[in-house]
Symmetry: C2
Subunit: 581 residues, 2 copies
Amino acid sequence: MLLDNISSPADLKNLSFDQLVSLAGEIREGLFNRLTKKGGHFGPNFGFVEATIALHFVFDSPKDKIVFDVSHQCYPHKMLTGRAYGFFDETQFSKISGYSNPDESEHDFFKVGHTSTAVSLACGLAKARDLKCQNENIIAVLGDGSLSGGEALEALDFAGEQNSNFIVVLNDNDMSIAENHGGIYKNLKELRESNGKCASNIFKSFGLDYIYVDKGNDIPSLIEAFQKVKNIDHPIVVHINTLKGCGYKPAEENKELWHWTAPFNRQTAERPVSNAENYNSMTAEFLLKKMAADSTVAFVCPAVPANFGFTKQNREKAGKQFIDTGIAEEHAIALVSAMAKKGTKPVFGTHSSFIQRTYDQLSQDLCINKNPATLLVNTASVWGMNDITHLGIFDIPLMSNIPELVYLAPTNCEEYFAMLDWSIEQNKFPVAIRMPCNGIIHTTEPVQKDYSDLNKYKITQNGSKIAILALGDFFQLGEKTADYIEQQSGQKPTLINPRYITGLDKELLTELKKTHEKIITLEDGILDGGFGQKIASFYGSSPVKVYNFGLKKEFLDRYNAQEVLKNNHLTPEQIWQDIKN
Amino acid sequence: MLLDNISSPADLKNLSFDQLVSLAGEIREGLFNRLTKKGGHFGPNFGFVEATIALHFVFDSPKDKIVFDVSHQCYPHKMLTGRAYGFFDETQFSKISGYSNPDESEHDFFKVGHTSTAVSLACGLAKARDLKCQNENIIAVLGDGSLSGGEALEALDFAGEQNSNFIVVLNDNDMSIAENHGGIYKNLKELRESNGKCASNIFKSFGLDYIYVDKGNDIPSLIEAFQKVKNIDHPIVVHINTLKGCGYKPAEENKELWHWTAPFNRQTAERPVSNAENYNSMTAEFLLKKMAADSTVAFVCPAVPANFGFTKQNREKAGKQFIDTGIAEEHAIALVSAMAKKGTKPVFGTHSSFIQRTYDQLSQDLCINKNPATLLVNTASVWGMNDITHLGIFDIPLMSNIPELVYLAPTNCEEYFAMLDWSIEQNKFPVAIRMPCNGIIHTTEPVQKDYSDLNKYKITQNGSKIAILALGDFFQLGEKTADYIEQQSGQKPTLINPRYITGLDKELLTELKKTHEKIITLEDGILDGGFGQKIASFYGSSPVKVYNFGLKKEFLDRYNAQEVLKNNHLTPEQIWQDIKN
């Protein structure tokens, strides 16, 4: 195998074009091997094999620096930079991450997993190069989907004013995760259709030079283009037209499905399908019913529709009541705020990790204006996504300290949908809901329908001495802990479902003082700036002892949830151990 | 006066063009009256008088909806919508805010003060209109400076795909607060110079229709253009070329100085100049010295250079070591992260209120990558800016709960510069510094130079029973409180300067338990998610009592700092009263 003799990109330089084409085949075999067995990003990597080979053939990494946007297309790059073992050797899969990672290689410069950051980061490398009077090439690799994100557009504007070497490779496969949305994409289409020659050119209007490569999966064409721009003395965009999923027919034909894949059968393209209930499809089903009954209900989603059950079919059902903003989280929050202001009923949804983009919009556009939009926060949990760039454990400190926001933590399926229904129909508060992430847990107890009497916690079990405030996804841990403590101590603890992350039930907390000596708080997120610390502060001057349980403030990476829970003393046994003395 | 008969825009409709011109004169008189006496945004309002008149002449507010970006150009709009008293009657100045405000008028739709939000908010109104099958005009008014902000660009992209009425008025005065930065501005210049006819057109490349009005301060030209686009069935940009500060020569000639003004003398254009020391100019002076000694030191600032002492003269002195990203806070954080990665020494600076834009970049681009950039956070205090949209009291919960960030709170001038110097020269941590905001306080005590031994608090007075942890700007309140308590109780309390917002000195806190019964924490920001609650959590299970003092989680507006402090029990007397029992 050619790859056996490539330990760094320097080893590519002497290969013939034919050998480079064979190399592309080998890289795809590596991708198949890892992705069929472990899963991961499929379409982006298959589409960018040739471009990666051409980049490393022309440029001199790591002196020349390639920064990947999102970096979910960097698997071929990993194979050419000494990490082929992570693809061909199943025992070593876990040694490499699914994203660029400077801990793995000197050819990676940043840990990246969010979109739209590469141009900014590359601008910083270029600025530093210029301040140090050095002269390497700086290359940002950006997908067309990422182009709509504010940070990418800000950076292109900045780049357009610079006067030194800077190369943006726009990997245009005409897809985001789902289809693209936004006016920019009409321009990209025009550019593709005119072979880069149409008058209107977004990159030129940002002040950047521009060339177009129609055959974005053809190594010689790409090499020619990259050689043309190597050592250029000003910023330029190399717009390459690639095929997402290139080299695997099912993926070329259904790009959305094959953006990311679980392990699958290469021959049949089949993946294990789960028919189990899940919150994504249940949420879509619920919202579609609301939409059918009320034409002012709308679901607004920045580019992750399927993660809320809005598959292509459901998007079509929703019609104009489904709005994909493209990757544009900031815009989406302001959008729903204004929609709510004008009396419609917008529901916004994204992941805990991506809502991080919107603090200012949550505060300024939404909460200062107190507009009654609903926000769904998905995978907000230790059981959410577990890459360092996709953690769902920071949204409580991020969001719950913003005035006027009502942030709700449902503890089971029925409570989640009751809260969602209430939020859509009320017109007083901006409301966010932390979607459950610990499996579908049903209750047969009656569930409250109206949550407008803010910050009323619910006692689900009356006891004494010890009270457990078990928030959201950790309510079941609270139940188990209550049982365990009763078993061990013979004393029944009080169990409370706080429901509201954003406020204290001071009346109930004051009442608890009379008959309780110890308060345990449990929350599915980091402790710093979170829920439990507010309870500790409330009881700070009283004799009541407070024990906050949750996660340590740290960037976890590719963790095992059970281990993390144990390390943070989040089992009933450990909790009892910690508090009993 | 014509204005006397205008209680709403409807009253404008029957005026002749000549009368409209007179009206513009009257509006400028109102602006002069308020701004000479009270100060406020000057250039944006003077430049937008004619456009405001034309908008209200053509469109039917409040049915047609005008959304102002930043809304620092909405004073003329306020005068035409029943609020002229707020400009002509000094006793009523304080009844109106300096920004759009739905509490004041049905012609204002949002409380807005940050840039780049208008297109998004207007898109939301348009979407809601379409869902409700209504048909009014939706107009976003956007300044050229705001155009570079990610949220605005995301929104333009979104708007470019819509198929219904939507009008963006681009108020192009060729200035941000300071000069514009970014490639987009080359295109705006081309458009102005070609009378809107050049081939490259950023708005068309975003999918929007476009017309250009060269005489942006000429009422008939503006009316003609607005009439052309009224009731249009698709999105369009009306690009108007206005003169910032139009109607006052000194402001036309020095646009940066007259963006905002303190009260001034209309005849002489003089303002009271303070020669007192201030942190802005001292910071610039310090950084310029560092830059002169080391060509890899750079100051990166998103469009607020003067607020860090980088006046035009100092920007020229700094040369390529000063980088204005334009309004692009997200990009700026990623930029400095990458600059630090490549071994240069970037310092970023903006206001507490604007750093809110960057949570995701702080977390992903900077802290996950642990790059040693320095961030300066200005007006982060109850003594900072006091409009609801510009509060500086939320940055501690926002920033201090991000892993890996070292957030420092200096307590005096010497400590601030020592921290800044250390941060620039170290290469281990991303560091943010909360710039002092309570006046220039000097110390004669020796100040620590090295802060790399993280989270070591400093005992500045040894005492017993009571310990006061007084963070940053509230350290002097801590000193006063310590004195007062000693006076009242005869017992000297311990006084501690925590210095580090982002971590606990567990050793010291544990030691305190032995000889102290009560811990007081003081912080200049909201309590929720902040510093004190972490201390309360630390002591939660111990007999030590903790009393957290700081601000309530709320959106304050145009407040008096002394009153707010009192309402939050932040005087030595109140603190003693609260803790003595």
